[in-house]
Symmetry: C2
């Protein structure tokens, strides 16, 4: 058992120990190889840091679920870390898609609740580069823009006090397994994560191996590079869209946004589209129901020379748009509590 394997060095290079050693860290551990390797490596990188393990038992497969839980509890004993277990309820009779979404939501709600309770600054998960490639391919197949093409973000704010970090996003699953083998650490098989969709699991187990073998050796690397470039491009465009919005915004309150279209004169249509995405983001209006067609519709309305009042354009979720002289007026729903905020 070597004392500081490459895996730990890479983890420390991606997420330096001094960033988390002094604050509480909550590690989401399913019992599968990725999260087991993560908590192990974090513990070994800093034996004094305040690490808590959170395990969520979805309750979908009672026996296997309990065995996973016992395994994680045993691991925590051996590592000397506290262990918080959450239990989900399987809502009966729902479609697989909504069941998985509900499971994912329940798991993140549990993680955030525990993080607040134990005072953890970071929630960390074991998502690897392979998970990232699967996510990117899944997004491509079901339809995405550049933001989705970038895949999972390395850091995401969950609440004012807590951020989600995915420190293994640059490491491959093979490196995880090699590390576990090197330190002689066992793990549970979690081939079908309860909160992972059936499509996603098939992408992992059937589609990517098929693509790698018959179509494009190195496809995982190709997807990761594309995701990186898309993320870089999207960040650049988003910052320009925010700056454009700053210049064009006249009125903003929870129910109403007014844009001065003269400030958009000569602006690239894609940037105008992204400016409206920034409006939705700022208003916390759900974007899931908006598609390329609707963003184009708004850009069209904003860039038209037509200064006469136009008919009210209805957008998803009771949001409407109208051009009044040089202004584009967006009216939001009475209360900001659409189905996506339930």
């Amino acid at each position: 058992m070597s004392s500081n394997p490459v895996f730990e060095q890479k983890l420390a290079a991606t997420w330096p120990t001094d960033r988390w050693a002094e604050v509480g860290v909550l590690v989401a551990v399913s019992g599968g190889p990725d999260s087991v390797a993560l908590v192990h490596a974090l513990r070994r990188l800093n034996p004094q840091a305040s690490l808590t393990v959170a395990h969520f038992n979805h309750g979908w497969r009672p026996e296997a679920g309990l065995a996973d839980q016992r395994f994680v509890e045993g691991l925590c004993d051996s590592l000397g870390t506290a262990c918080q277990v959450g239990k989900g309820e399987s809502p009966p009779g729902e479609s697989p898609g909504s069941r998985e979404a509900a499971a994912r939501e329940a798991r993140y709600a549990f993680l955030l609740e525990v993080a607040h309770r134990v005072g953890a600054r970071y929630v960390v998960t074991g998502h690897t580069a392979d998970d990232q490639a699967e996510t990117i391919l899944h997004h491509i197949l079901r339809g995405t823009g550049l933001a989705g093409l970038a895949g999972m973000r390395r850091v995401r704010v969950l609440s004012p006090a807590v951020s989600l970090v995915r420190p293994l996003l640059g490491l491959g699953r093979a490196e995880v397994l090699e590390y576990l083998h090197a330190i002689g650490q066992d793990f549970r098989q979690d081939e079908t994560n309860a909160d992972t969709s059936l499509t996603r699991n098939r992408i992992r187990r059937e589609l990517l191996p098929l693509l790698e073998r018959d179509y494009a050796p190195g496809v995982v690397e190709a997807l990761l590079r594309l995701g990186n470039v898309a993320g870089d491009a999207q960040r650049l465009i988003e910052s320009q869209a925010e700056a454009l919005l700053d210049r064009a915004l006249v009125v903003r309150d929870p129910r109403r946004v007014e844009i001065d279209c003269r400030a958009l004169d000569g602006t690239d249509r894609h940037l105008v589209r992204e400016m409206f995405v920034a409006v939705w983001r700022g208003q916390n209006w759900p974007r899931q129901a908006m598609g390329l067609h609707e963003w184009n519709q708004l850009a069209e309305l904003a860039l038209t020379e037509e200064a006469n009042p136009t008919p009210l354009q209805q957008l998803p979720l009771a949001i409407s748009a109208r051009r009044q002289e040089a202004r584009l007026v967006l009216s939001g729903p009475a209360r900001n509590c659409g189905p996506f905020h339930a």
Copy 2:
């Protein structure tokens, strides 16, 4: 036989008749459904326009190839259009990949030569939305950035006098077949186009149907939308990169480019990367050998505070980069005739 089917209306909406009716048009016709539908529809949209058909016989499958040629010649007789036939030679013993690339190159060289000879302003091909989706997926699998993600361009300059246009890029293969059925026009099967790679043919015949059926119904539409958004984003970023280069460029001659790095201060790294792509484009330096790693290397060199002369960095194809005080100096190859210009 209806007089002006939807297909012709859509074609005329995408590529208005008055843009091409007064100038020569060369239609690349393989004998397959897409190109047969295209030449038919163009002829019917304007019976007086100067249309020439170009057919390239790759010589790979002597019997089928000759039958294709005879079919196209017969079609031209019935439509009253001139027909130019080119013949390729199958270079023996090469790998499929290089053979296909050579075939594609020979076909485009033939098309351009005929266009110049008959005085055609446009070369048009029958690529459809389905071809576009296949191209985008192929690029994703083998590795691409945003430019490649946008797929085939609708218009591409082939020479100062001739542009390539793909007017069917917004129409699906199903619409092509429906049109041919409606007008009672026969066509040849060209399932394995000689200048289409084996991987590409499998993407069409096996992978996309599998994805549509088992993974993501509507995947073709999803790929096309992603390609559109990527193209919009890439055009926006490219125009900004060109503007940045205008501000930062100090010296440009065929062998040497000097950039004033002070003009890049505070600029987003991705934009700086794209500025270097613009340098390569402007110098006509081949970009195929440059990867994300090399572009990052250049951006790093340009954005560093380090003002001392740095060691010469060797880039592919005998191009080198060096930082000298505030300047970044790129030195190109002695003669601009790398392997990719052969």
